[in-house]
């Protein structure tokens, strides 16, 4: 296993060469990957709103955004500018503090979860040893924000939307956590880096999706429900609840909700890519190709190619899942609230428990194939 490019090491080395003490060099490094990730995630979320419009349009035989930039690609930027220039309304009957904090409670945990999303062997802000568990715990903060928004608005639609959002997200959190648990068991680690490394070796054949097909389906369904995507978008079902908990929100506060929900979709898709689709690994291993043309894996230019290919691969897999989510939106009708809860509690929960026990049994029987 090649260790890949170590950007942090090279950066700190560079600064210490200029005579800075190592502590200062490390402190200078800390905010850099974070700012890059925040900017990148914002761009990724904007790209997925554009993709959502274009794919939705194609699904309905329309053209979609066309005039703003090539293929309407500047439409999301226009959205952001519009929302920033809108008046920041505060309805008279709201609780102003809760009303202001709620979007932050939704936005910040989603962005914090990107701390553990790897784009390459060293392309992660920090390789925490609790890894995916951090994401699972952070994802349970968002429902509090949704409930807050619903309650603070003092609007009946918002209240119902907030209650539905909380019920939905607690129902799908357990299947989600249990399907991740089966993967954790196979890789003996919670770290996302270890989870990807455990899938390396045989290219597409060694990805977790073949060993955890049930887990993959459970994870994707539960992730869609957590993101409030169709067919699980009950909290903001516009025919019934106008816009759910967002009804009273406008301008920059609405923008935070909107950015948060798309960033959450991108996050779920990235985690599917990392956990089930081999992360930054190519379908045909790069090391194998390199040995075929007779280049050593530690050659500098090959390392750069491998690292870039890793980022492209991760994003490609993630956007494939986002594309699937958008197509699902136009394929499946919205479920009713009781059907939603039945699916979560009476189907996904027992199935994910069985999947966990099955994984444990298979790991005991075939330790080599299941990460012994």
């Amino acid at each position: 296993m090649s260790s890949g490019i170590d950007l942090q090491g090279s950066f700190i080395q560079l600064l210490t060469d200029y005579g800075l003490p190592i502590g200062v060099a490390k402190t200078v490094w800390i905010p850099l990957p974070m700012l890059i990730i925040v900017a990148a995630v914002t761009v990724l979320a904007l790209v997925s709103t554009w993709l959502e419009r274009k794919v939705s349009a194609a699904a309905q035989q329309r053209i979609g955004p066309e005039y703003m930039g090539p293929f309407g690609m500047l439409a999301p930027a226009a959205d952001v500018i519009k929302l920033l220039f809108k008046e920041n309304m505060l309805p008279a009957k709201t609780d102003p503090w809760l009303f202001a904090i709620a979007p932050l409670m939704v936005f910040i945990p989603v962005f914090l979860s990107y701390l553990i999303v790897p784009f390459g062997q060293n392309m992660v802000i920090t390789d925490l040893n609790i890894g995916v568990f951090l994401w699972i715990s952070l994802s349970s903060i968002a429902p509090v924000g949704l409930l807050m928004a619903g309650y603070a608005s003092n609007n009946k639609y918002s209240l119902l939307g907030g209650l539905r959002a909380a019920a939905q997200s607690i129902s799908y959190e357990i299947p989600l956590a249990l399907s991740v648990l089966a993967i954790v068991m196979m890789s003996n680690s919670l770290s996302t880096i270890d989870i990807v490394n455990q899938q390396a070796g045989y290219g597409i054949l060694s990805w977790n999706i073949w060993r955890q097909p049930i887990g993959f389906l459970i994870f994707w369904i539960a992730a869609l429900a957590e993101c409030e995507r169709m067919p699980f978008d009950l909290p903001e079902a516009e025919e019934e609840l106008v816009a759910g908990y967002q009804t009273e929100y406008g301008a920059v506060k609405f923008m935070l909700f909107y950015a948060g929900s798309y960033a959450n979709l991108v996050l779920s898709a990235l985690l599917v890519a990392v956990i089930y689709l081999g992360g930054w690994e190519s379908p045909i291993p790069v090391g194998w190709l390199a040995s075929l043309i007779g280049v050593s894996e530690s050659t500098p230019w090959l390392q750069v190619v491998t690292a870039s290919l890793g980022i492209v691969m991760t994003l490609f897999k993630a956007y494939l899942m986002i594309f699937l989510a958008i197509l699902l939106r136009w394929t499946v009708p919205r479920v009713r609230i009781d059907q939603l809860l039945d699916l979560g509690w009476k189907f996904l929960l027992p199935v994910s428990l069985v999947n966990l026990l099955l994984t444990a049994a298979l790991k005991l029987s075939f330790p080599v194939a299941f990460g012994g």
Binding site: P31, L84, K86, P91, T126, S171, E173, N188, V252, L357
Partner: protein
């Protein structure tokens, strides 16, 4: 400086994310117009005059779900260390987890039969 290695990044990221939010809100405050008026600050209720407030007593339909959720969430937290250490623990740990999950499954079946998992 930090007892737990790697968590200084978590703290740093909290600060960075909060600053991004603050920047967006401050930018919008500077850019956006401000007008006053009583009518325009009324609560939205599909164009009708709002009938009463929403801060009333209401039936939290899903409090039973919340109770079952707490049970299973705690169960999941217990299972995480088990899963990480599973390859060292072997067959005995599997049987123990089987009993543990079995007890909780009986609990789920009980809640199901009692109708705790119904929305109405």
């Amino acid at each position: 400086m930090f007892v737990l290695h790697g968590y200084e990044y978590l703290l740093g990221f909290v600060i960075v994310c909060s600053l991004v939010c603050a920047a967006a809100i401050i930018l919008s405050t500077l850019l956006s117009p401000r007008r006053t008026g009583v009518e325009r600050r009324t609560t939205y209720e599909s164009g009708m005059e709002p009938l009463g407030a929403a801060w009333i007593q209401f039936n939290i339909r899903y409090y039973m779900f919340a109770l079952v959720f707490v049970i299973f969430d705690v169960e999941t937290v217990f299972l995480y260390p088990w899963a990480v250490a599973f390859s060292q623990l072997g067959l005995l740990a599997f049987i123990e987890a089987l009993i543990f999950i079995g007890i909780l499954l009986i609990g789920l079946v009980y809640a199901w039969r009692k109708g705790a998992l119904e929305w109405s």
